[in-house]
């Protein structure tokens, strides 16, 4: 199994003249989950985006396996799947087509989805929406389609922005089950959340975006 370490050191982010967050530090390794918590507007999404390399940091660095992610030789995207609060779904495609499209962008697992799509659609109970346009789905179902990406990826690092929003009770439990599976298989999860579900996990870390303290 591949060992992966994420190290965030003194990350500071400015947007214009506004300080979004400063001096955020944490580290995370295989089998751990990090909950980023805090009130609205405290920079959770920005921190998550900077972990994926699409947000520039003013100060500090993010290293994955001791290589700075800004280094062009660091192909950390091979190991990372990011699901933002926008679901990355095209309104003009059906549920199935969207997942087929997203599957194309995930080189870690080529054709498992194509060969047996129903298995993946069943997990979040969206089989009956297979041929619906995504623009016709409700918010919760869109979220479920977006999260279905996690089912057919082999990537180790999951970076998720508010994965629980809009989900019903059953889907929440399914998702937590999925998280537990991933963690036991040595994966890493970074997620921002308003709902504390850390009691399901043995090794969970908190990042409270108001103060900068990490409690094991």
């Amino acid at each position: 199994m591949k060992n992966i370490d994420i190290l965030v050191d003194n990350a500071t982010c400015l947007r214009g003249d506004n300080l979004i967050f400063d001096n955020i530090s944490f580290n995370l390794s295989n089998g751990e989950i990090l909950f980023i918590m805090g009130p609205n507007g405290c920079g959770k999404t920005t921190l998550i985006r900077s972990l994926c390399g699409i947000q520039h940091l003013e100060n500090g660095c993010i290293k994955i396996n001791n290589v700075n992610i800004n280094n062009p030789e660091c192909n950390f995207l091979e190991n990372l799947v990011y699901i933002g609060h926008n679901d990355s779904l095209s309104e003009n495609l059906t549920t199935y087509e969207n997942l087929e499209y997203l599957n194309k962008f995930d080189l870690s697992n080529k054709d498992e989805f194509i060969s047996n799509p129903n298995k993946f659609l069943k997990f979040f109970d969206i089989s009956k929406y297979k041929n619906y346009l995504v623009s016709e789905l409700s918010q919760g179902n869109k979220k479920k389609v977006a999260l279905s990406r996690l089912l057919f990826t082999n990537k180790k690092i999951w970076v998720l922005d508010e994965p629980l929003s809009f989900l019903d009770e059953d889907s929440k439990n399914n998702l937590i089950k999925l998280f537990l599976d991933h963690i036991t298989n040595g994966g890493l999860i970074v997620t921002s959340t308003h709902i504390d579900f850390s009691n399901y996990f043995e090794k969970s870390k908190y990042l409270n975006m108001k103060g900068i303290n990490i409690n094991e």
Partner: protein, 220 residues
């Protein structure tokens, strides 16, 4: 093999037919209004109609390309592209070609109808046709570039066109010059070659340029 990638781009237009018809109808509305303003002077209209066609094409291409990335940006698809290890240059290239094919190419096909309306000679028509075929893909790619630059700004409706229109000028100058040469009975191959070289310079480099622009714009 990449069929779903094709499908996604094509369905954007097929499932939103107004993306195809809006430019077409806009073009014909504007073109048919001109004679009403200029008056029934046949020789004057025949002289200026190639220019009018070109100006209308420019506004039409602005219409279709200035908000090109808006949907993909709002839906988080651009974020998905940039956080995927797959290289996206080919997809961006496809996007340019398909945008041109569904918004500008239908207009080019209907240009002969315009030539009947305005009594354009066959020789001039062929030149207009040729300059449009070579010039409009450049206009569309530059317009798309402008939309990539201003994608992250929420009220970007005017900034994109202001940035991009100056870059349309070389294409415009050489097209106008080619059309003028042919109506004066002069050779026009030089201008066509220049247009062709601009096209061959812009089309292959634009996807790479777009990728870096998207990366900067998403940072906002």
């Amino acid at each position: 093999m990449n069929s779903i990638i094709f499908k996604k781009e094509i369905y954007t237009y097929f499932r939103n037919l107004n993306y195809i018809f809006l430019p077409l109808i806009f073009f014909f509305l504007v073109i048919s209004i001109f004679p009403l303003v200029i008056g029934p002077n046949k020789s004057l209209i025949a002289k200026i109609i190639p220019g009018i066609i070109w100006i209308t094409i420019i506004f039409t291409s602005l219409l279709s390309s200035s908000n090109f990335f808006k949907d993909d940006y709002n839906n988080g698809i651009i974020e998905m592209y940039l956080t995927s290890e797959k290289s996206i240059e080919f997809i961006l290239f496809l996007k340019i070609i398909i945008c041109w094919f569904f918004t500008i190419f239908p207009i080019i096909i209907f240009i002969p109808i315009v030539s009947i309306m305005f009594n354009i000679s066959l020789h001039t028509l062929t030149t207009i046709f040729l300059t449009l075929l070579l010039g409009t893909p450049v206009l569309v790619s530059i317009g798309i570039f402008g939309s990539a630059l201003t994608m992250g700004i929420s009220k970007n409706n005017i900034l994109g066109p202001i940035i991009t229109v100056p870059f349309y000028i070389p294409v415009l100058i050489f097209s106008a010059s080619a059309i003028e040469s042919v109506s004066n009975g002069l050779p026009y191959d030089l201008q066509i070659y220049v247009l062709l070289s601009i096209l061959l310079l812009i089309l292959p480099t634009m996807p790479y340029l777009l990728k870096y622009t998207l990366r900067i714009s998403i940072n906002n």
